[in-house]
Amino acid sequence: MPDSIAVDTLVIRARDGDQRAWEQLVERYAPMLWSICKAYGLDRRDIDDVVQYVWMRAVEHLSRLRVPERLGSWLATTTKRECVRVRRVRYQRDSAEYPLDAAAVSGDEGDDVGDDVARALEEAERNAVLRAAFAELSPGCRRLLSLLVREVPYSEISARLGMAVGSIGPTRSRCLARLRADAALSALMSADAEVREGESHV
């Protein structure tokens, strides 16, 4: 239940000092920060610094965010900028120490990862909606879908859940139908359908 609260509400609560609301925002966007940093090819130590910086800036920024629901986009942009900066610092250091090596890789220092950031944001929002909808399901559905997601064979699922192999398929459909009925998820699916439709008309 708590996971389905909208981002703007969480931002407003966090701003007022609600630690739990902040933690939900962190859970929601941590995978996005991680994937942007990975896309920029930073090593783990740099990623830790970038991420820590971005979280601290975000806390500082909470009360200044004019449109609370844009926190995700603010996080994506800030993470991207810091990744670019860190990469540039590393590059300058490397080119001072190993001028030839650095020169060899300097040609493609352009910001070719930029487009991926918009995609990372979209993906993070979509994944958060999916995870929240999943969390709302009955324990039985969550258990079954968790196993299916891990591609556990039906025979093993049957043994683990004490369920006839023949009823796994229908139960799977029923659980997915319930997942699909989630309000946020169905809004997301219709938005996605519109995009697809738009593309097919081009």
Binding site: A14, G17, Q19, W22, E23, V26, E27, Y29, A30, P31, L33, W34, S35, R44, I47, D48, D49, V50, V51, Q52, Y53, W55, M56, R57, A58, V59, E60, L62, S63, R64, E82, R85, V86, R88, V89, E123, A124, R126, N127, A128, L130, R131, F134, L145, S146, L148, V149, R172, S173, L176, L179, R180, S186, M189, S190, D192, A193, R196, E197
Partner: protein, 153 residues
């Protein structure tokens, strides 16, 4: 609803969502939780935003500062106080503008450091370079209470 994702697509998207969350090291999430402790409850403190960074405006630096060992120059501006910083190999040289005396504290992931003097010319020196994100919290004798935004060297 024909436009909804079918079972296979839905399941594979759910898989992607779960995998993405599981791939994130716990420290990344922990750092996020811990950052909340830095929430500014002191509403009198003003934020000085980064307005200039030689690492970003790289081309301008050599011409301006060819004579010194300054590695990076930063400017943070609040409405009534500007904090200029020059980073050298071993220290941070700072000046508050307009010049005035006071004290400055370095706040970083290890917490808040002891107060360092800002002299009458508004100058202060911080020995060593903080590791990871940090910010400078300045209190001037004229009663200004200003913190830089977080930054990393």
């Amino acid at each position: 609803m024909s436009e909804a994702w079918d079972d296979d697509e839905l399941l594979s998207r759910l898989r992607a969502a779960m995998t993405a969350a599981e791939a994130v090291p716990r420290e990344i999430v922990e750092a996020g939780r811990a950052a909340f402790a830095w929430r500014d409850v002191d509403l009198d403190m003003e934020l000085a935003e980064l307005t200039y960074d030689s690492a970003v405006h790289a081309e301008a630096v050599p011409a301006l500062r060819a004579d010194s060992a300054v590695l990076r120059a930063l400017t943070f501006a609040a409405s009534r106080l500007t904090i200029e910083l020059e980073i050298t190999d071993s220290s941070l040289l700072g000046q508050v503008v307009p010049p005035q005396a006071g004290e400055v504290r370095v706040q970083g992931r290890a917490g808040s450091g002891g107060p360092l003097e800002i002299d009458d010319m508004g100058v202060f020196v911080i020995r060593g370079k903080p590791d990871g994100p940090f910010r400078l919290h300045c209190r001037t004798r004229t009663g200004l209470d200003v913190s830089t935004s977080w930054f990393t060297l």
